[in-house]
Symmetry: C2
């Protein structure tokens, strides 16, 4: 059984992983580190971690499983820093929202004889507001947790992981399921194409809609309240922090560009057909997506 | 006090008005009529109405207040049919989503000496699925209920209503507040511009996004589930029925065209700036809209 987990980056996701692991019966210790001292202290106060490490490398070296949970570029930096410091019986995993660059980095730095193991992961869960203070032990319940560890995705086959690291990877997958998540294995490139549609496009649509509405009706706060549940839902993700999405936009640019362009074209098609039968076709196609 | 209300169109909104009036303590009788016999029967079973009228005109003639709750064009038709049949002590009101055409029709046919009174209304509440079976006594709680009865909006001043009709209008406004709604008075043209932004644009964005996603990932139902709460919220309105939105698109076309075009431009701006600091500005402007 895993005895010690290090969580590097104790924001919303990292702190939620700690709380969810504890709530799922994980009985070992959890050490945390965050670039922001206040963020780590908040995670400690909430019980998401048991102690705060002085630095990221120390935290990882003393654990068996290290969870990387900062934004993508910080995750890629930590992967570089940690790879030479950890032994072959150590498992590193992450929760980053794009996977192609992380999987490529893992293939280059990890998962080879004598190197630590890396299991790229992405829980499809989050909130529109970051920070440990919004962490939630139930965040991953009924969520899909994607791993992009498929053999064809790795330059080095998983079989080259040490026996112990392979066991830790299996244990981590089990713990994720105990947190209430359903595992889906995908190729990392296919993952990034898919999340461009089901995650990044909805986010940027909410951002565009919220920013536009702020321009148009933001001066009159009483008018924001006129909109009902639909408006609240369609703009909730407008509160999402740029700090996280900057890295996603940088590491999945082409797939996101394509998705945005297709949505622009779809909106233009609707605009040009507000009084024609084509509008019915659009509603019927949309209805199919929401068919139960 | 109002003794008898007629609800013409007992779908989601009409049946919810009946249920909410009853739950708010309305003690008089409620007669209903719907183009669909099954719809009226369902509303009767739910207790949204006490009896079903044989036809719309009979229902209205026997009531003091008539609520028009079908889609917009059917509302406009009923306004034409009812105006010559009702006396000056009768109040007609509606719940239609666009108001300029209805207010213009009201000014032409109602609110003059010897004519029935008309109070144009629009509760900012609804669901993505229509029909009496989804009716809810709590639908209007915390919602804004707009009236476009402002004197400057009417060719005939409200003062030309009969004393009794003016009292009924005040009673209806009171009943709406008892249902839990907050009243906002707006000019009908200003109403239509505003709802293009806060209601029609969010709906058509959800329609476009849902239809696009059905094209892109609809073949793989397991992939729909990958998206989390954000995806579900951003596409919930994709289930909305064309039957209702057709009339809205026809009666607020210019304002909706303008709103859609601006969103297309905003999405293109984001697409062209995925790797530039402009993206930060868009997120920050969106954050402002959601600032609490």
């Amino acid at each position: 059984m895993i005895e010690r987990i290090a969580i590097l980056g104790t924001g919303l996701l990292g702190a939620s992983v700690g709380l969810a692991a504890r709530a799922s019966g994980f009985a070992g210790s959890i050490v945390g580190w965050d670039r922001s001292e206040e963020g780590a202290r908040k995670a400690l106060e909430l019980g998401a971690i048991d102690s705060i490490a002085s630095d990221a490398i120390t935290a990882a070296c003393e654990a068996e499983v290290t969870v990387l949970a900062p934004p993508i570029f910080a995750t890629l930096d930590l992967m570089e820093q940690l790879a030479p410091m950890l032994g072959p019986d150590h498992l590193v995993t992450d929760v980053g929202s794009t996977k192609a660059q992380i999987a490529a980095s893992a293939a280059r730095l990890y998962n080879a004889p004598g190197r630590p193991a890396f299991l790229p992961g992405h829980p499809m869960a989050g909130k529109e507001r970051g920070g440990a203070e919004h962490a939630d032990a139930k965040l991953f319940r009924h969520a899909v947790w994607i791993f992009t560890d498929a053999p064809e995705a790795l330059d080095m086959p998983v079989a080259q992981r040490s026996q112990r690291a392979a066991e830790l990877a299996e244990e981590w997958r089990g713990l994720v399921q105990q947190m209430g998540a359903r595992i889906l294995d995908l190729d990392p490139v296919r993952h990034d194409e898919l999340v461009a549609w089901v995650s990044h496009l909805p986010q940027l649509t909410a951002t565009a809609l919220s920013a536009l509405l702020e321009d148009e009706v933001g001066e009159a706060p009483e008018l924001k309240e006129v909109g009902g549940r639909g408006l609240r839902e369609m703009t909730r993700l407008g509160a999402s922090p740029f700090s996280m999405w900057r890295d996603i936009a940088h590491t999945n640019t082409e797939a996101i560009e394509q998705a945005l362009l297709k949505l622009e074209q779809r909106l233009a098609h609707i605009r040009e057909n507000l009084r024609t039968p084509e509008l019915r076709d659009e509603f019927e196609q949309a209805n199919r997506f929401r068919k139960e």
